[in-house]
Amino acid sequence: MLGFDPTPSDPQRLVVLSDALRKIVQALVQSRTELSRMGRTGSVWDGPAGAPIATLLRRYSLQLSALEESLVDCLQAVDNWREGAEQRQAQIANIVAAVADVAGDAGTEDRRTRLIAAARELGVDHDRAAADLALAFDELSGAVEQIIRADDDLAGELHRALVALTAAIDDWIAAEAPELLRTAIALGEVAGLTTVISELVGIAALGRNPGEAVGVSDIIARSPGSHRLIKALRRQWLDVAPAALPEATFSHRQSGGLARRLSDRRPVHVEVAGTDSAAPPAAASGGGLLGSGE
């Protein structure tokens, strides 16, 4: 009727294209999130030894991210284009109907000309909108070009970084493991010795025979009242346990909420004999608990 199509567009195809782009964006987000999680604070890759690995993961993740950003722009452009095109096509349909109405009527040439001019005007708008869509896809091509240009041997670098990490861990173990295990053993021993207090308080029956436990006999040997301590340890205290023990404040079984649960926060402080501290190492000064009122 008009003799030309001022608003070429295929809404059905655009729906299909939009769905496909959405699926690809979702897949990229999923992939990127998975990799980003690996190098976050608190992960084992969060440190100089793991940094090369975290960097490689981030690099790949950024490539996915760049593609994702371009695709989101494309998706937006496709949706905008489809919406606008449908509106313009509806307007053109009205114009075509109006042109059909006046067809054959004498003296309506001016109206017909105005209608066709309006259709051409819509065509110009349509072309302008099409340029936005084209631009989004041109930018996608640009983003792709950058990704392809990177052309790095990510897998090879990852392998080399993992080899280096394994070697660093091996070196660390060789130098530090014996002392670490001594500390771990000491902790276990002290925990065992402290548990004796619960026995003395009368709420744990450890079935202990004085002298058989190396740690306890050592403790007794150092005590000025050792004979009384031996006698005490032979006694069963459960029958004189405190009548009323306080109910535990930590008995809720949800994890991660200690700070919230503690009505009476009681921070424990340990001074760090760190690189920026003038304090001597722990063993040099002798450990100790210090209570301070506040």
């Binding site: 195809r13 099409a130 091509s141 394994t166 991660g256």
Partner: protein, 104 residues
């Protein structure tokens, strides 16, 4: 160098992540493969859309290949680090190996 199952399990998590990425990208590549990008607008924008989608396919294909290569590379390292049983968990979820598993 002794086996490092616990470190191996952490490394296995990277492997798992790249494996999942590879699968995701394979999935979208087949979506693009099935897509008929015919005319959707003016000839100029049709050309841009077609070119963009072709480039997108190339990029996704390249990224998928890199992910697959990373899976292979990390797997090689997994061998270096001994048996690695990964748990897919994160956060507080531990990756646990009992002391006896090293002998397996």
């Amino acid at each position: 160098m002794q086996p490092m199952p616990l470190v191996g399990a952490e490394i296995q998590r990277i492997n798992d992540a790249f494996h999942r990425v590879s699968l995701e990208l394979s999935g979208v590549l087949s979506v693009i493969g099935d897509l008929d990008v015919g005319p959707v607008g003016t000839p100029a924008c049709d050309r841009a859309v077609a070119a963009g989608m072709t480039d997108l396919r190339t990029a996704l294909s390249g990224l998928q290949q890199v992910a697959s290569e990373c899976v292979t590379a990390v797997s090689r390292h997994g061998d270096l680090s001994g048996t690695a049983q990964a748990s897919a968990g994160s956060g507080d979820q531990p990756i646990a190996l009992s002391a006896g598993e090293e002998a397996l």
